[in-house]
Symmetry: none
Subunit: 241 residues, 2 copies
DNA sequence: ACGAAATAGGTCAGTATCTGTCCTATTTCT
DNA sequence: AGAAATAGGACAGATACTGACCTATTTCGT
């Protein structure tokens, strides 16, 4: 019986018998009391709520097997968490950033498979890059405040978006696009889209967009489009296909 | 990350992402491919139904999803999620970043009250600032790879840390400190500490620290210390008192 | 038909981890 | 007081884990 089996057995025994002394557990598991003590300390570190009663007649028990209320996260909340974690993990060397990935995976794992599948498709359309260069950052202007809402809706619901775009020569044009993906280079981001009038791939910087209006024409999002538009850009981790 | 954490993370990752190659898993978990192979073999022995698809384009996945384990996030995983979300929310205007805060709150709400309290104390000691200025970023050097582990442990367990510090005049000194807080200005971070030999508050930049060694002297973390050291710095949201 | 990319797993040396033994401190009941 | 518990520090020896290297096999795309 290796360590993993043993901690497994320890948890089962405590669940089944509700209360035990370390000495009893040690005999049950065939190891020394000191080892049981260490195993319990480990389980506590992992967040299991085991309470010890000191003194004569004492022992250990599960404090309260509180069935956690099921997580009711909606789609954009999970995508938000996902994006936050991806951004933090690009800055290697931050404390706790490795653990955030593991934490996110546990949250995702707790969702029903059907939602997980939908979510995988959503963040498969998001490309995360390094933070914007100082020059880019300085050139970034104010974003139209209604853009986020409009964009999030169209991106998730797979419908088209129209807006007025100001290109780098200050020309204003009307665009109607299918928002297939986004590229995030904080604090700047781009919509990776197909312009339905030109039938061509285009990138739109968020601060050059004004007067966004969703419209109800549906499209089929393509990760391939996202992948293709992004793969040449250095420092960007393209989503898997 | 020990073996147990790793197999945990492995299962979560597979549940969350549905499909992965051994190589991806190895990178995600920071171990060799051979070790991932062994972990997967172990999990199979334990009865988890993981199927492997051979050949080009192959990978591993759960054949039949094992019953959901209850959401068991450990402390540093929650702190990691929290920090990621705070950082993302500072970059206002990113899509989905508002929702990430709501999502995080739901995750926190699903934890037992006792842990929530401990966690509030932990992230009450973390100050989040704007990303580092280009000059600061360029001057930042490599961080000692063992620092993160040592620091995370001392920070959470409320014990002291000693290390060699190189100040901005390149003087090397031995320090013994109480790590009360951190200030994060990605990708740079500082330990906000009390130097126990000088009995004075000091900030230590993470890339100037070498040879970190935890030692078992406990201290009582003070949010006031963190607050005081950080309140003069522009662009930093100090934790509430 | 071939090569590239996967899973699968054997072997071995070095190291990191775990375990038991022996402590001390503290709490609680009799 | 004293006995019976939890809690956990220190240390040496045993154990297991890990990475490097290797081979076999399957599968896909060109």
């Amino acid at each position: 019986m290796d360590r993993t089996d043993r901690t497994d057995a320890l948890v089962s025994h405590l669940r089944a018998n509700h209360f035990a002394t370390m000495t009893e557990l040690a005999e049950e598991l065939g190891v020394s009391v000191r080892t049981v003590r260490r195993d319990i300390a480990d389980l506590r570190l992992r967040g299991l709520d085991i309470e010890g009663e000191r003194g004569r007649g004492g022992g250990v028990r599960f404090a309260r097997l509180a069935p956690l209320p099921p997580l009711q996260l909606d789609e954009s909340q999970v995508v938000g968490l996902w994006l936050s974690v991806q951004l933090a993990r690009r800055a290697t060397g931050l404390p706790f950033s490795e653990d955030s990935g593991a934490g996110l995976n546990k949250v995702l794992a707790a969702l029903p498979e059907a939602r997980r599948q939908k979510l995988r498709q959503l963040y498969g359309r998001i490309a995360v890059g390094a933070p914007a260069s100082p020059r880019l950052r300085d050139s970034a202007g104010e974003m139209c405040p209604s853009l986020i809402d409009a964009f999030e809706r169209c991106f998730s619901q797979e419908t088209c978006l129209s807006f007025t775009y100001r290109d780098r020569f200050e020309n204003m044009t009307q665009r109607r696009i299918e928002p297939h993906g986004i590229l995030v280079q904080p604090p700047v981001w781009y919509i990776l889209a197909i312009d339905v009038d030109k039938s061509a791939q285009r990138m739109f910087r968020m601060d050059r967009i004004s007067n966004p209006r969703p419209f109800s024409r549906p499209f089929v999002p393509s990760r391939a489009v996202v992948h293709e538009m992004v793969e040449e850009i250095p420092g960007v981790s393209a989503p898997k296909l």
